[in-house]
Symmetry: C2
């Protein structure tokens, strides 16, 4: 969706989203899903960090050496994580404090500069949002009350994956729609129970939004997904993360 | 897309797709992407296997015991694979001969019965398509020549993933659109090169199609994706599979 400015710390995200939807000539309706990128949310939350003010620990320095990354970035990665998953030259995959497994704790160095940054500051990076599930719920409440409609909100990021190349849109915050959609109770055309039919609804919405967003030359931090049918849900995106003890690849 | 019959072995897939598109009142246009499920393609290819005619090897019997699966299914999984990735009760993850990593070699037991199966036959399972990239290319050529349009074709399946619960649509065959979309050359708003910007276009198209397909009560083996912009490509879906030696989770 066009019309979304590069927001700064303290921006009122509900206001930004409402304006963009209105300026596209649209009104939120029941069943709509608003997908915002984690970057938009992080900027609004002011999750900018000036690397020149980060003091790396000995562990971050050693790890930075091993993977060939700025030890100050590694320091932030470690602070944002509960465990290191894999280390290799150029690669640092961690279990994020939010529960998912992601390279570099999702820390972003592009478009990571706050508005009005001093000329002698930086370089700057942007951390993932503080609590994207809670922020999704807050955004949803605001938008629902303004629009008098039942909607869903997804906070998305682009994640790499084991086994497969390229990034895909992934839900790191959700409110209003079920993260997982369980169709196991249904039966196939011959009456056998359907197998393997819990779909990751949240991630598929994020992937569809990322597909559309990526088509715009300048990127799109906001996508409106229309036409889905879902039962309203209070489950959070953390539901999508496999617990480490149940993960054969942890 | 409605109007797709449960096809049997030898069905002319291009004919099936063309009819469904026409009966929806649509005509294929430049830039359209036709997404067919692997199951539709497998059925058309006649990839049905009668388990009562499968003799499991000693290895399949031992492995079936370990994971708690029918040793005849395990035998087929092993025949379809180049390596076993992970084994646990209820779980058998392999590297498929087609290059990707998938549970149970993607073998499917729902809606897996061929038309006219003898009453005393089966149970039946359905293997993944023989060569989904080649089939995607064939289907694309047929559809392009009939419609005089440049299109893309994706053969999709629903895959589980490490770290995250639920399945997502995944591209296992492609023709006409690039599997990976490389935006690394582009720059962010502050002139820094964009990081981590190779998106898995094929998988995102498959996920978006699966999102839509899953909405229909009876499922949808065919989805038409409109409105994407992409450069025509002859690259195959195998491009999306990380090579084992470059995979930290292999």
């Amino acid at each position: 969706m066009p019309g979304v400015p590069l927001v700064g710390a303290g921006a009122d995200l509900a206001e930004v989203v409402s304006r963009a939807i209105a300026s596209a000539g649209l009104t939120l309706a029941d069943g709509d899903v608003v997908v915002v990128t984690s970057k938009l949310l992080s900027r609004a939350e002011g999750r900018f960090v000036d690397l020149s003010r980060v003091i790396p620990s000995d562990r971050a320095i050693a790890l930075g050496d091993e993977v060939g990354k700025d030890p100050r970035v590694v320091e932030l990665v470690l602070r944002e994580s509960t465990a290191v998953s894999r280390v290799a030259p150029g690669v640092l995959v961690v279990r994020h404090r939010l529960g998912f497994v992601v390279a570099n704790a999702g820390i972003d160095a592009s478009n990571a500069e706050p508005a009005g940054a001093a000329a002698n500051s930086g370089p700057w990076v942007l951390l993932l949002p503080e609590a994207p599930d809670a922020s999704a719920a807050t955004l949803r409440r605001r938008l629902e009350s303004d629009a008098r409609a039942r909607i869903g909100v997804v906070v998305s990021d682009s994640f790499g994956r084991p086994f497969r190349l390229g990034t895909v849109g992934t839900a790191i915050g959700m409110s209003g729609l079920p993260p997982l959609w369980d169709r196991r109770g249904e039966r196939d055309l011959f009456g056998r129970p359907l197998e393997q039919t819990i779909t990751a609804l949240g991630d598929q919405v994020a992937a569809a939004a990322d597909l559309v967003a990526g088509q715009a030359a300048e990127g799109r931090p906001l996508v409106l997904v229309r036409g889905l049918t879902f039962d309203s849900s209070e489950q959070e995106a953390t539901t999508l993360s496999r617990r480490p003890e149940e993960d054969l690849y942890a």
